[in-house]
Symmetry: C2
Subunit: 417 residues, 2 copies
């Protein structure tokens, strides 16, 4: 390097900002954020021309053997009172005190980047408002789809679009279970047990297998797509606990598979949202999303379908998404990154009006009786002894329920994508 | 709306910026940009709180029957001299005068958003430098992958990542041809002819079928991933003209398919890049990307694989990506959106050192002779009479070439993903 080049180099270093960050919570994601910032510091400096430095990590525990010990603090006020800290990563999980700490940080003008789906879903509009009032940002890429960029693309790359529908495979645990059931012909309970042993499912797996986790995530995405607040409790939510290996036998016969979809759509100024298992054909790009992978298919009125795929969970993938938000904040210090998500309620229409086909299994029902009740159907013969499967023509959920009440011995129903 | 609400509403309107835009070229993409901005103006205002207005469209032609006639101009200086125009969409195509007009606009401090792959690939670093010097931006989301958000995710969502590899299906024409050959068992020439009749392939299809289009796109993505300039001519480029229906018969037997991949990777501080047909198995999420759809799979050192999928071409999809860039510029008026892409050359290593398996077909070769030359191979029997197919073990491209020179009567080779 010659003298002139060295001087330029020196000047560049002089104007390089040093951005100080704090991490709330040194659990799985928090320690992942620490690791990503440490291992990729050279890459990050090269890309954004600023240096990111973790000044504090807040946790009640001690970590004597971990490099984090040099920056570990137990009192949040040390962080809140330090004007050097510009950005906070909230990776504590749970509603409280995560919400309270987030609020306090934002009120001091510190941007907050989080992976905490529960806080985002419940307090998103309020926290965004506080961030705006204090010229800082509240970002939450990691709260939906783990390491998949979906929140930022919705806010930026698709800002010019009218979103017509969002369909996500948003829960890795259930997708892992369904994939295993399909590939190995196993029963739900057996796969769940194995998933728990491998750490892919929680000891209490209800939030996953009943569809609540996916429901909170589609509530967040839908709120962002339309700028108003979707109440999770307005979303019809069915889990995968009723899915059997026999259902997969039917799916196989049809050349299809079964996926837990979290879906919302806008149709003639009405909004619908549902979490439920769907029969999915290979034409849908979500058909091939297997195991713990997640994906989100977004249909827009101009650009059509785009899909975003990746790891829906995991320490480093989730942490990486948090760090992406940190860099976005670092590039916009002292500015609010506007996210349109008002507290005004987005009215979700009753599912009764949603139109689709239904895959139905009925014990011992004969063809004439099925056609008598459901009219024109596609019969699926000889899959399970003693029963008949069929796919209805398109009808509303209300019409389906009305007809289903008339047919004796329905064993199960799965909606058709 | 009561009085107070009306006053608030009024105030909001007062502070709303009106951002004036010009479009260079009213061809397919340019008229698409005009259409997206017109049809989605309410959506855009709601999302970014600014109003985008097309003040001028530059084209040498007249469009008497089109709403564009009210803003049509034939002289670029009217646009360059108008300080109100903050953003220009360059949708002319071709290198000149598109490059010259872009340069002039940037030098006047007007941000430029383009779909023009040729200009981006050839002049990217220089134009980015000019934009930076004039506090405006040069954005080109639409130049790769049409309507798929990939440039912006690389710049923002993956800024914290070390990219280890990028694998793209980046050319819709070739993917359409390969999908048709597979699904209908047709020969290359027949499908190409039909694609030309339907407008999916150009009259002179060389840029597509020889892999040059995909090569220019992977050059852009690789430059952005590593911040230095990849010269397209350094990329080994093979098209799909040698692929036959017999190759697909082998692929089917193997449970695989054949895709034209544009791929770059970093391995032990060396960089490799290639465009070539690959044998692809269902485990790869790109396996299911069919027809005119494109997708890009990015492997990173922290978050692992993420994939981006959508329409790789088409009027409204491409225009939508240009408009996304316009909104990004509107949110950052007077500021440079920094994109790291230096003019310094990124050294691409000779393909000789790249390691992989190879699928080979040889006429009349017997097993002993194949094993004599290639060692341990996976033989594929009885697909085509009078020949043998086999898959080699892993070896470098140089090793493969050396061995292949020794085996008589090789009919064809396809790399294995």
């Amino acid at each position: 390097m010659d003298g002139a080049a060295m001087m330029i180099k020196k000047n560049e270093e002089d104007i390089r900002k040093m951005v100080k960050v704090a991490i709330f919570g040194y659990g799985t994601v928090g320690s992942g954020v620490f690791e990503v910032l440490r291992r990729n510091s050279a890459v990050i400096q090269n890309k954004i021309e600023d240096e990111i430095q973790v000044k504090y990590v807040l946790d009640l525990r001690e970590f004597d053997e971990d490099p984090v010990r040099d920056v570990l603090v137990h009192d949040i006020n040390i962080i809140l009172d330090d004007p050097e800290v510009a950005i906070v990563c909230e990776t504590m999980g749970g509603e409280h005190p995560a919400y309270d700490f987030t609020r306090q940080a934002l009120e001091r003008g510190k941007s907050v980047c989080t992976s905490n789906k529960a806080v985002v879903e419940k307090f998103g509009p309020e926290l965004l408002q506080i961030a705006k009032a204090h010229n800082c940002s509240y970002l939450f890429e990691a709260s939906v789809g783990g390491g998949i960029p979906i929140i930022r693309p919705l806010r930026t790359s698709l800002a010019q679009e009218e979103v017509q529908s969002i369909t996500g495979i948003l829960n890795g645990t259930t997708n892992y279970i369904l994939t295993k059931m399909e590939n190995e012909g196993l029963a739900f309970d057996d796969v769940l047990k194995r998933a728990q042993e491998k750490g892919y499912a929680e000891k209490n797996p209800d939030a996953d297998i009943l569809g609540h986790d996916a429901g909170r995530k589609i509530a967040i995405l839908t709120s962002l797509a339309y700028g108003k607040n979707v109440d999770f409790s307005d979303i019809t939510t069915e889990g995968i606990t009723a899915i059997t290996d026999q259902d997969f036998a039917y799916a196989k016969r049809l050349g299809a598979t079964i996926k837990l979809f979290a879906r919302s759509m806008k149709k003639k100024d009405k909004y619908y949202a549902i979490v439920a298992p769907f029969l999915v054909y290979p034409e849908n790009p979500l058909y091939a999303v297997n195991g713990v992978y997640n994906a989100i298919l977004v249909n827009c009125n101009m650009g059509g379908d785009t899909m975003y795929y990746g790891k829906g969970a995991g320490k480093l993938a989730t942490a990486s998404a948090v760090v992406a938000d940190v860099l976005d904040c670092a590039r916009h210090l002292g500015k609010n990154l506007a996210i349109k998500w008002d507290s005004e309620k987005l009215e979700i229409s009753p599912i009764d009006g949603a139109v689709r086909k239904f895959f139905v299994r009925a014990a011992g029902a004969d063809e004439a009786r099925i056609r008598d009740v459901f009219g024109d159907v596609e019969l699926i013969d000889d899959v399970v002894v003693g029963e008949r499967g069929f796919i209805t023509s398109e009808m509303t959920e209300a019409e389906y329920r009305e007809k289903a009440a008339k047919l004796e011995n329905i064993i199960g129903m799965i909606r058709v994508d």
